[in-house]
Symmetry: C2
Subunit: 372 residues, 2 copies
Amino acid sequence: MALPNKDYSPGLEGVIAAETRISFLDTEREEIVIRGYNLLELIRLASYVEVVGLLLWERLPTPEERAALERSMVESSVPNAIYDILRRLPSTMHAMDRLRTAVSALAGFDPEANSSDAASEIARAPRLIGQIAQIVANLSAIANGQEPQSFVPGRSFAENFLATLVRRSVTPAEVRAFEQSLIAYSEHELPNSTFAARVVASTLADVYGALTSAVASLKGPLHGGANEAVMYMLLEAGTPEGLEQLIRAKLARKERIMGFGHRVYMRRMDPRAQLLKEVLHELIRQRGEGHLYADMCQRGEDIMRAEKGLFPNLDYYAAPVYYLLGIPIELYTPIFFAARTAGLLAHIIEQHRENRLYRPRVLYTGPRGLRL
Amino acid sequence: MALPNKDYSPGLEGVIAAETRISFLDTEREEIVIRGYNLLELIRLASYVEVVGLLLWERLPTPEERAALERSMVESSVPNAIYDILRRLPSTMHAMDRLRTAVSALAGFDPEANSSDAASEIARAPRLIGQIAQIVANLSAIANGQEPQSFVPGRSFAENFLATLVRRSVTPAEVRAFEQSLIAYSEHELPNSTFAARVVASTLADVYGALTSAVASLKGPLHGGANEAVMYMLLEAGTPEGLEQLIRAKLARKERIMGFGHRVYMRRMDPRAQLLKEVLHELIRQRGEGHLYADMCQRGEDIMRAEKGLFPNLDYYAAPVYYLLGIPIELYTPIFFAARTAGLLAHIIEQHRENRLYRPRVLYTGPRGLRL
């Protein structure tokens, strides 16, 4: 046994907790490295399906592999029992809690659920990514008493996902904006949800348990829940002036402003936020509407930089993109999870390949020597 | 931002990951400290309900508080929709996966589910402990098409839990043996499941998400799953000689022997295992049967000490106790979780009271500078 040392970093800040070949936030060079590639280049030039292949296979897929991968993702089907279970959950239940329950239940319909060897986990991954996207895309519809829709073979994964979310036909520009957000959310080193998934996976628990824990984590207001909070703030504010007043009032009360700041990006803007800001502007240009949201976001960004020296994170610019696409707000965090499933699976597989049980120690500050 | 240091301890071995006033494994003095008390003394002299009060309130309850706490735990009811959902899961699904789904779904029936303030979390805790025990006690019955049974007001929590598990009336000696196992499992510092719960709770995610992650972790063969694996090994062996052959054959193939070794207890026997061994012997004495299992366990213990220098852990002696009580083997790990819910809730509440988001860094060993 290694004796606990006296150094204690709350929240494990600055502590290395995993060795990985998947991704790295290089804050010095301002670069998010994904399997050797710059994430911004992937957002600009790649498809989401290519990034899924890269994450799972450690290299970009060939065109044939890419087509086969997209087919597996699109043609995967969700067991009817999962939708039955979702119907039995109260519609007032938080969408992430409904998603968490569905992901946990999925294990029951996979005969290989308890297997944690890398080969079967890689083989199952495309189906799982497709199932989770379909569950997310149908979450609000089911809560509203509508029938779930399956993805349509022959249509791309991104188009299927968006069209099922908004239940209308969508334009190529809309699909591309949505797909770029999926790539931006696909993988990001070791945030709380990925760390939670690796911690759970290290008991050799199965993929479903590890993913369930990641949903649980991502729901938290300090993590994925931020993108929804940003949109509610923008809607409450209504105008750039309204947002300025709202932010100044919150700052005066020392309240946290959602969508700003990041444990790792402290001195500069999250590079993903910068790119999603461009995606937002391009989407507004294509549609010829929605300038209000770009103006509000810019005002908020300016105030927070001047007043607090804080920069927007990805959630801040993903929120108005999703809003303009017409996606129900309660699904913003579930979409984040669906996009991140690819990165999470890569981490779970890596953890299972070279495993060491996570079992840290504590600094005990309670009483000693009490007797009954 | 603190820059990642170069020290990397796989599995966070020896790393302090939380400050706590709840419990501490003092391996030097061979003592498990629970809120200042020695766990072995609690197992010998206290009731499970007293330990629940101690964990939640940081002091032992008065007799009146204890009676009220036990009433809340016993009289809590499980929403019918939870049993409906469990009926929709395949009976082949792992019991811990069914439990994980049920705990996640419970959030939908708690109007305060999203609250993470300590006062409401402490107030909800007794009901949650009672609900989870009732779900665990009915898991196998529901999978077998039987109706769930509610706990009976006026009977103790431990008697209700055991009687519902085995669906027959139980003797005071049986109840006491079972209750002592619950206390032994109630809290144990920062094992993987408790760490997973704290990691998830640190996003300010709710209690249900944090508990769901702990179920997911505890299922793992390297963690809670060990108590079931021990029992299957004992049943496969059949006799002390059979167990000796089985263990020697596994050792020759360099396979792991379940129920031995512990990340923290390396030089001595897990003190909880020592006490559960006494509980097993006392249960056998009272019933006048079951000597075979004590003899097998002793043989296995002797061989492992001689051959590998490894000592039994709690799971090794909990398994035959549960077997002699007639509890379905698939419920051993769910019972571990039900007993640990009290400790987990104490940790989740403590994490929410003085929160810092868990967000460690990685050691990146993958490629750099690739271009599309």
